[in-house]
């Protein structure tokens, strides 16, 4: 397998010509359920010129016994220029997110962003399918809002370990989305069931685009269905990051391209990529 280098020219238009390093103030930071927390920041309007799917790079605070060094990338869960709010939905995974969880209202948080390429909603796409699990919902939430604003028809399949772990269902419902929940505990989240479900949706209303993130399993499923029915799709991916700005080249992943396998930077060409170009891991 030959791996070529990034074939990205500096000529590429960055999603944002200007990125900001800003000290925001914590408005609230509280648990959503056992696993996830919602962080709400007061942020200046200039940094809220975001696209769904973009992320910020957060300088998590330093605490006794928790001393993160690098920034941590975090998808934008919500951005509201009108009220000057920026939101993140996160799960405690290690040092950085544990430190993040200690932030109290009124404390500062230094953020860099908005970063990366967000989701694309083409004008000729009407019926959108969102498929997400866990923290993936954080990434897809602003996409749902944007789709709603643009008058798209939205179906969201939300997957979780158990019904109590399902998040943001009300959020999606308020946006008029057709919600389908699947869970491990109810044994509805398996690939076979999902495939049947989605095939059903395609057959009844038709679907113009898939949106998903994170999971290798879901990627494969949607790639198969997309290829089978010629449906476009996008996926948001993760990778270890240092700079978040495209400079260090540590966050590359491999992608299919007409010329072979290429490396692209998740922070710069991504985190949102074409579904069919993405490769499993």
């Amino acid at each position: 397998m030959t791996v070529a280098v990034v074939d990205v020219t500096p000529g590429i238009v960055p999603a944002n010509e200007q990125v900001f390093e800003t000290e925001c103030q914590v408005i609230s930071n509280s648990p959503v359920n056992n696993d996830y927390r919602l962080l709400v920041l007061a942020a200046p309007a200039e940094i809220l010129n975001c696209t769904p799917g973009q992320f910020f790079h957060l300088q998590c605070p330093v605490r006794e016994g928790l001393q993160p060094y690098l920034r941590r990338p975090m998808s934008i869960y919500g951005y509201f220029p009108e009220k000057g709010e920026l939101q993140f939905l996160y799960k405690i995974a290690g040092t950085g997110t544990a430190a993040l969880a200690t932030l109290a209202p009124g404390e500062p948080l230094n953020v860099v962003g908005p970063l990366g390429q967000g989701f694309d909603i083409r004008d000729d796409w009407q019926n959108l399918l969102l498929l997400a699990r866990g923290v993936g919902l954080a990434t897809l939430a602003p996409l749902a809002l944007e789709a709603h604003k643009r008058g798209k028809t939205l179906t969201a399949i939300c997957s979780a370990r158990s019904p109590e772990m399902l998040m943001s269902i009300d959020y999606f419902r308020d946006l008029g989305a057709n919600i389908i929940t699947v869970t491990d505990s109810e044994e509805t989240s398996g690939l076979e069931n999902l495939e049947k479900l989605i095939e059903g949706l395609i057959a009844t209303n038709g679907i113009d685009a898939f949106y998903t993130c994170g999971s290798n399993r879901l990627l494969k499923l949607l790639q198969t269905l997309g290829a089978r029915h010629n449906i476009s799709g996008q996926i948001a991916l993760e990778q270890q990051m240092a700079c978040g700005l495209g400079m260090c080249q540590c966050c590359v992943r491999s992608f299919q391209s007409p010329t072979g396998i290429v490396h692209k930077r998740v922070c710069k060409e991504g985190p949102v990529f074409d579904l069919q170009e993405a490769m499993g891991w």
């Binding site: 390093e21 240092a242 700079c243 495209g246 590359v252």
Partner: protein
Amino acid sequence: MVDLSVQIGDLRLKNPIMPASGTFSEDLATMLDINTLGALVTKTITHGIRQGNPTPRVCEVAGSMLNSIGIPSKGVDYFRNVTVPYYQAYDSPLVVSISGNTTDEFAQLCEAVSVPGVAAIEVNISCPNIEEDGKAFAMRPSSTLDVMRKLRAATDLPLWAKLTPNTGETSDVARAAQEGGADALVVCNTMLAMSIDVQSRKPRLGNLMGGLSGPSLKPIALRMAYQCAKAVDIPVIGCGGISTTEDVLEYLIAGASAVQVGTATFINPTAMIRIIAELEAYMVAYNFSKMTDIINSVRDEEAADTVVFMETAP
């Protein structure tokens, strides 16, 4: 009036602050006016196209980081056709970092990048030399002298030799680089290190080992910069663990004429412009008018020469 400019061989820089190779690209222009920087240093490029190392390429260690990016490179043609024209829009001098697997390949590339628009060439001789069992050129005085002579013959542009902290012969390597024709030394690159994930028992980097950079490297790199400034007559450009204006002053006092900021830019992308502003404020506050008032002002007179050149700590 405060004058922040510094002299590196024939090159005058508007201030002593520049990015370190591999931690900067045109992408930083989304965050700040890169024209305020003393120089613009590219990621190391190789002659041909290279892919770099397997992922994960980065991991965090106590207060610092390791990387094993390798040298993904789009090759020399891309550099000449795209990178050089891009930087024409800026008047901060463009410094291209290059590397090669063999002395001849290195020299060829050196010649190939000697084009209008390039102000200086930083030769990353801290990279493995396949003619010497993969040992970096800058590990030994002999291989340093050898490659620097060939590189010197290949270009008329200023040559900055970037040294490695992995050698036990810092002063000798520095002198060999000077003898081989370097116009300045960049001191230094990352230190070979490792981290293992205790849960999975796997090395945290796809490449097993990688380079330590950030605050942990500072006392080591500062020591090297000091040793080099004592050992050679050409300017030393300090690099390693700089994140504050105090860190910059420490290097300048130790004898460095300028500095490169690397990892700190990952933590605070605007670190370099903040440092430039603070450096100016510092000079005003302490009544310094020019950088040479600070450079090499270390008060080490009480110490014996033998100590200065010691190569081990008991």
